[in-house]
Symmetry: C2
Subunit: 153 residues, 2 copies
């Protein structure tokens, strides 16, 4: 929006690389946040989990089989409880698909859970996430996971 020189020199040098993020860079940044989410989950690291979420009253998180939790206070309390009470699990993420449009992104993926115990070990959880671009980078505003139920033979 600032002053632009419109003379013939403008077309002469190649445009310098833009410092603003490209769609590919945005997609990569979103993938990094998703990786951190699962690192936090595997490591039962509340600080790291806290870092990847927007902290306001509008965030929503639906754990498999749970009612939806609204607001960061409820969401963070749920992660605290899950990290306290659940056995450690490894998560192998497959079929991750990222879409970015403007300042929002949505991600679909499968969480393949491996672990010593718990209701969810050995299961696949399908998840949908919404992330928003903030002053601190991309952050989660919504996460919804649900167990994929095996179909009867």
């Amino acid at each position: 929006m600032g002053h632009r020189y419109r003379g013939p020199i403008e077309s002469s040098p190649p445009p310098s690389p833009s410092p603003s993020p490209s769609p590919d860079a945005d997609e990569e940044s979103v993938r990094v946040i998703v990786e951190r989410f699962y690192a936090a989950f595997e490591g039962r690291d509340l600080d790291l989990m806290s870092d990847v979420w927007v902290h306001d009253d509008t965030v929503v998180c639906t754990h498999p089989g749970w009612a939806s939790l609204h607001g960061w206070a409820a969401v963070s309390a749920s992660w605290f409880a899950i990290f306290e009470q659940s056995a450690p699990m490894q998560v192998f993420v497959t079929d991750e698909r990222v879409r970015v449009e403007g300042d929002l992104a949505w991600v679909s993926l499968d969480e393949n859970l491996l672990g010593a115990g718990g209701d969810e070990a050995g299961t696949t959880v399908s998840a949908l996430k919404v992330l928003q671009r903030t002053g601190d980078g991309w952050r989660l505003v919504a996460h919804h996971g649900s167990v994929v139920v095996g179909r009867p033979e």
Copy 2:
């Protein structure tokens, strides 16, 4: 960004209504699409369901307990099968929360299902949806529903 008259007259007449959608108008438009989604579901109306979705390979739909379906071909086939095979159900939507940011919106709500039969009648399904502003208005690009499991007493 255009010319603005800064004199005293500016404050005199009330501003004329803007033809561009306001955040409230966007939110209302998103709610209308969500209503149509459930009207299509209750009426088992594939045409109406088709009208509320973006038709491309990137849409994603996760029915309760199902693996995620990607692309409009798979998503529309799933609605066709559900409408053919399921008993009619009424859906009472509660706790609907809509957020709009630019050309995307996300919606969290509970579907309270009432009906004659089927695995899901009498249950509550928590859902997260993502909608995108298109040339034809707001359309669904993602829907994820999962049954809220009653907690043991």
